[in-house]
């Protein structure tokens, strides 16, 4: 009666799902494949079905323990409280760069001494590493023996440590500045012994490390001495 037989009907989504999961008998699968060869819409549906099944079947994600989630939930009231306190004290938060004072978390020079380990063993043994944290920021400082003193270098990691900023080192010889690298690394030429202050100026904050001690003696152990 009708001549409009040119477009074959699309198979139901269910058939495609069966095909995706290998649940169709061979003859039905072959017939369906023949349709797919000419139908972009069904081909795309089948591809989605395969993909979503692969995503689900490969999912080995782990839920965070409830106490860990609860601890994170408590962060929000703290934020509200901090905001309210700032508002009450009338302190203008905008425009001022907050200064964070970093605390020493780790000193490679202290650990081996305390444990009686590694007095300058190996080529890396000359280097001293210190890790500081300040709020969300972490600063690694490396002291390496250099020309007439110790090279002070390192890296700052944290929220807006994205390579924009300046490192400033204040100490006995005066003040030196160095731009941060794209990885937020800094490096100063060799410095003489003394107590230094390292300031890392980032977009939103300034991280300060006070009392950074550059040793008076050269490196310990079987160095050039």
């Amino acid at each position: 009666v009708s001549l409009t037989v040119s477009t074959p009907p699309h198979p139901p989504f269910e058939r495609l799902a069966d095909l995706a999961e290998g649940r169709l008998p061979a003859d039905q699968a072959a017939a369906l494949q023949a349709h797919l060869a000419t139908c972009a819409a069904c081909t795309s549906d089948l591809a989605w079905l395969r993909r979503v099944a692969a995503v689900m079947r490969s999912d080995v994600s782990q839920a965070a323990p409830e106490h860990v989630v609860n601890r994170a939930l408590r962060l929000f009231p703290q934020r509200q409280a901090a905001g309210a306190a700032a508002a009450a004290s009338g302190s203008p938060l905008a425009g001022l760069r907050e200064r964070l004072v970093a605390a020493l978390r780790f000193d490679s020079g202290a650990v081996p001494l305390a444990l009686g380990l590694r007095a300058g063993g190996g080529p890396g043994g000359q280097e001293r590493q210190l890790l500081y944290s300040a709020g969300a920021y972490e600063v690694e400082v490396r002291l390496t023996p250099g020309d007439g003193g110790w090279v002070v270098a390192g890296q700052v990691l944290g929220p807006d440590a994205d390579g924009a900023g300046t490192a400033t080192l204040d100490g006995p010889p005066g003040r030196v500045e160095a731009p941060l690298s794209p990885l937020s690394e800094f490096a100063f030429p060799a410095q003489p012994a003394g107590s230094y202050r390292l300031l890392l100026g980032l977009a939103g904050v300034e991280v300060a490390i006070d009392g950074l001690l550059v040793p008076a003696d050269g490196p310990a152990g079987p160095g050039p001495g």
Binding site: G22, W48, S61, V68, G122, L131
Partner: protein, 233 residues
Amino acid sequence: VGVVTEAPQQEADGVEPSDSDLVLACRRGDAGAWERLVRRFERLVYTVPRRAGLGEEQAADVFQQVFALLVEHLDGLSQPDRVRAWLVTTARRESWRVGRREALIRATTAGASAGSEADGAGAGNEVTLLDLPGDDSPADEALLRLEEQHLVRTALGTLDGRCRTLLALLFYCPEPPPYSEVAATLGLPTGSIGPTRARCLQKLRQRLRQLDPTALEDVSPERKGALSVRAPR
């Protein structure tokens, strides 16, 4: 499996707020929105450090740090609808940082026995999924996959209980049970499992499109090859 029992909040066809809605509500001080945001992403944020090889304690540290940073940056996120990518990037970076710190401490305290390999250069080897920050390594592919898994789970959580159970049994079980068993579990005739599954998958697709219009939809040939490894032929 988790999907069945955990799937939160809304049983029925309620409209889930978008990621962006939640961020904006948090900015207005809505503590309920913060809870939903944390619960929506908790699995994703916790899985990144675990997949990076960190232990439970370190992963918990990373988790807390990531959400602390999010609280801090709620007002500064320039694209609230990209909070998922922000969380993944931040979790990756924090995992790398914690992993490196742990390795450094281990290497230094073990320095006497390990000798010259125990300096900073060897310390990064522990963290494999994450490589270096900002590179485009296989880690990116793995993280992309984690994001997709997150999206599918989130979409699944918005479906009705029957669809959730059915899809969980069929797709999240390492050994999917036969239809007859699935039917018994759901109290349905065996013959209805196939059609019900198809309908649930269609709903899932619709919810996924609401969550992220591009998720799982762009199937270029090479991508398809990479992702269909475990798909039945």
